[in-house]
Symmetry: none
Subunit: 531 residues, 2 copies
């Protein structure tokens, strides 16, 4: 079992991804988290290229890193420039980071077309730059940009660029598949060639343009690399960098290499979600190991198998990476997963008890009408509560009217009026909205606020519409999925009707009812705590 | 250069993905598109397990497939069951599909724990089932479920399951990494072992639980598999199946294997987006080859490099897969593909002619507002006609009002009133509908019928709604996609607004205008023919 060094590029290369912007604060928080997770290196930015990267390093001195080293990224000096006059190299030194990662050109295509210099000057640029950094007592990591593409064009020259870095004092040689186009076995063969000639630790840095970044990194480790670079969730330019979450999990669980260790690995899912929150991006459900669907089973035969033995349809136990198994409720899944859920309410229930039979009957009927409870677990919960007589009534009677108007000048207006009764109280009110659904949403909240003031904390996060049987045009049934929050929890609800207003209304009511239930539970907890 | 058979599982395995539901209509449209792309096999569903899968095969008889063969999926017979009494096997035969894909258990773990039968009975189940299908003249594909996991537990037994399939008449042996946990080099080694013993064509079917599905499939091909299974965009249970888009592009462009051929490959991006529209799912920007960001350059040095020579930062030219380069400093880069479309209307147009510039400006503006023309080519066509002054006016002014009411007894009513003027004529009328959208659809048709009686032949086939910016709840923008027909042609139109009624209205108007245009062209043809 060999130790593999983990080098995170999220803050620098990851932020090249389309739509990814980290504030200075975000970067500090992420660096702290990566350190807690036991990552070895954190690349903080390119201080010679962007002022906000230099600022990050200034503020990073406040950080109390227990394990990780901060690395400053830089290019080599320019052609015919003295290293001491290179803004990039100087900024790396001034950053105060103990590590400098300097990238140089490995490929003759880039030397000639992009740099516009000679092959020998490029070698001197690499050697001088590494010597300048290591001479300033910085641990020097050499990133060989376009290494694999360069090797395919001119292997001899590409190996000479590595020699130049070694002569300059580089301590690690990182082989980069910058354009992400190399096949894993090409990477493996080329790493073999490099390992024959160099005794230094070798690193790997890949991109996902061919969907092979993780595979390329693992192949490189299999062939001798002991340092792996990547980003959280695979953020990065174009199709992204190699996803470090996937790589770390594969190294630990499939290849028996130690990276952050098995204990910290159980925080992997949390870390992945944390960084996606910082990036303000949704967390893709299908991310390997850490995604919400990674251990979600939908097919009936799969659910049946997992209940008999989880290893039948799970490549690793989800707990190893801090994830959890989910049995999805769907038409395809058979009914066996339902008992699991019901047992949360009543432990003693059996598959053939009358409540369960009745509930299953109702569920089948609802599913035939187009209901679907994936992403609408709150509606499912309310369904169970209703079957067990645990449901709260929001009101006795409700009628509403929505008017959407397009004036001849093209402007649109939507208004809803609503009349709600609970006991002997009646509320009759009205509200406008951007469209008919937001008008009824606003009116319904306004009316129910009279009976349940806690509604104020509940708000809508997402609203999805899907036509179910699409053969009848606008006369088809629609399914509305709504996601709501009270600032803490999030929950999903569903409504189906041939009328989009009614479908939305059904899902909205469930959303409010479930939200009130949550707020009552929280109140009860607080009272309990005060006692 | 070897031919590799492409077998698509989107309609069956892909629909196991969380949140993926294809209607019967969607499935027919997708099958048609996959056929046009030159895919060899299309797995339509599991007719013995779900009624709507059986319905799909019944309706699929209408399809006029030029190249692809439809495959019906099924399990083997059960332990101690006669093949003729297996609902799965019978349904596969009754489906009318020329190909049956039968899956059996390769792993002793599954034989014992999940099936609860003996190893020898499992072998008989596989052999009998293949024989039953091949005996009914079906081309029989054998899917060896959990093949790689099974091989690691007991290689000898696992190879025997393949022998059983061969003895039963299977024509292809597909090795499945069902749990997605195998490393690419493990797959390569095991394929080598299988290829030593079997002369039949071998196939590969992988899942992405370790982020290695594409790499595993390519490794299998490199070691001798000639049949590749996967799904569009990698849809599928848990972390998804192997992404067939990525695999096909890698095989064609990196490994010099022929699949759909280089010409059809240039439609890959369109196909990928088309299927994501059908699935009503966003198209991830970072998808290899086909994503919107796949050739988007953000870093200054990268943009500089790409300007000097695109190969400096692009692993393949984006045009090869129908994608386009984007330099993120200017959203306008890469619109050159539009000239292709415009030349249908005016051959002599150049990139810098004023109409083209104006049109590009308008298009960029519309796209920023959330318009998207995949699946809405009729709206795009009308946009071009408008730019060239070729557009017909349906009316001068139009105002409408829609009322949706929920009475206290729970019944719903939707009614629309509309006032339309063309020249000095005015029509003021009203109609009801199942919901507000069908009410305005009915009223609009009724009103316009007065001016354009041909409208009678136009009807709606499909109606889809998507929330575009999903952070604002019911206040978000929605995009409505409508598909219409006149009994002969089908066409798609699009509308965007924060108000679902307005978005629907915009798409409906385009649908009617385009339909009238078609009927005028048909009339003109008829007159021409009579002369």
């Amino acid at each position: 079992m060999q130790d593999i060094v983990v080098y995170d590029c999220t803050l620098r290369d990851g932020s090249q991804g389309e739509g990814i912007v980290f504030s200075a604060e975000d970067r500090l928080l992420i660096a702290q988290k990566l350190d807690e997770m036991g990552f070895d290196y954190i690349e903080g930015g390119f201080p010679g290229a962007a002022k906000k990267d230099a600022d990050f390093f200034a503020r990073a001195r406040e950080l109390d890193l227990k394990h990780a080293k901060l690395a400053a990224f830089t290019s080599t000096r320019r052609p015919k420039q003295a290293p001491g006059r290179s803004p990039g190299l100087k900024a790396a030194i001034e950053s105060g980071a103990p590590v400098a990662t300097v990238f140089g050109k490995s490929s003759v295509l880039h030397v000639e077309k992009v740099l516009g210099t000679t092959r020998s000057e490029n070698l001197r640029m690499i050697e001088d730059s590494c010597r300048f950094l290591s001479g300033h007592e910085l641990e020097t990591v050499y990133d060989a940009e376009h290494f694999f593409d360069g090797f395919k064009l001119d292997p001899e020259y590409t190996l000479k660029t590595l020699e130049a870095a070694v002569n300059g004092g580089a301590e690690v040689l990182v082989l980069c598949d910058t354009n992400g186009g190399s096949l894993p076995w090409e990477i493996g063969e080329i790493v073999d060639r490099v390992a024959e000639q160099f005794d230094l630790p070798l690193g790997i840095h890949t991109h996902n343009d061919a969907g092979l970044a993780v595979a390329g990194s693992l192949a490189a480790v299999e062939h001798g690399c002991s340092h792996v670079q990547g980003t959280m969730n695979g953020y990065g330019e174009r199709c992204g960098n190699a996803n470090l979450c996937t790589i770390v999990a594969n190294l630990e669980l499939k290849m028996d290499r130690r990276t952050i260790g098995k204990r910290k690995l159980t925080k992997l899912r949390d870390l992945s979600r944390y960084v996606s929150e910082m990036a303000n991006l949704p967390h893709p459900k299908n991310l390997p190991y850490v995604g919400e669907s990674a251990f979600a089973h939908k097919g009936g035969m799969h659910i049946d198998g997992v209940r008999k033995d989880p290893s039948t349809f799970e490549h690793v136990p989800p707990e190893r990476v801090g994830n959890a198994r989910r049995l999805l409720i769907s038409e395809l899944a058979g009914r066996s997963s339902m008992l699991d859920r019901l047992s949360r309410y009543r432990k003693e229930l059996k598959k053939d008890s009358p409540e369960v039979k009745q509930l299953i009957k109702e569920l089948v009927d609802l599913e035939n009408r187009g209901y679907q409870y994936e992403g609408a677990e709150a509606s499912f919960d309310l369904l169970i509560r209703k079957a067990f007589g645990l449901r709260q009534e929001l009101f006795h009677r409700c009628g509403f009217r929505i008017m959407s108007e397009r004036r001849e000048d093209g402007s649109m207006l939507s208004e809803a009026t609503i009349k709600v009764r609970l006991g002997d109280r009646e509320v009759h009110t009205a509200a406008e909205g951007m469209g008919p659904v937001s008008a009824i949403d606003n009116a319904l909240r306004k009316a129910l606020m009279e009976f349940h003031p806690e509604i104020e904390n509940i708000s809508l996060v997402d609203y999805k519409v899907r036509v179910i049987e699409s053969t009848g045009g606008t006369g088809s049934d629609v399914r509305v999925l709504i996601e709501s929050t009270d600032g803490q929890e999030r929950w999903g609800t569903v409504g189906v009707s041939h009328n989009i207003i009614e479908a939305s209304y059904i899902a909205l009511l469930d959303a409010i009812e479930y939200g009130l239930l949550l707020s009552k539970q929280t109140e009860a907890h607080k009272r309990q705590a005060r006692k």
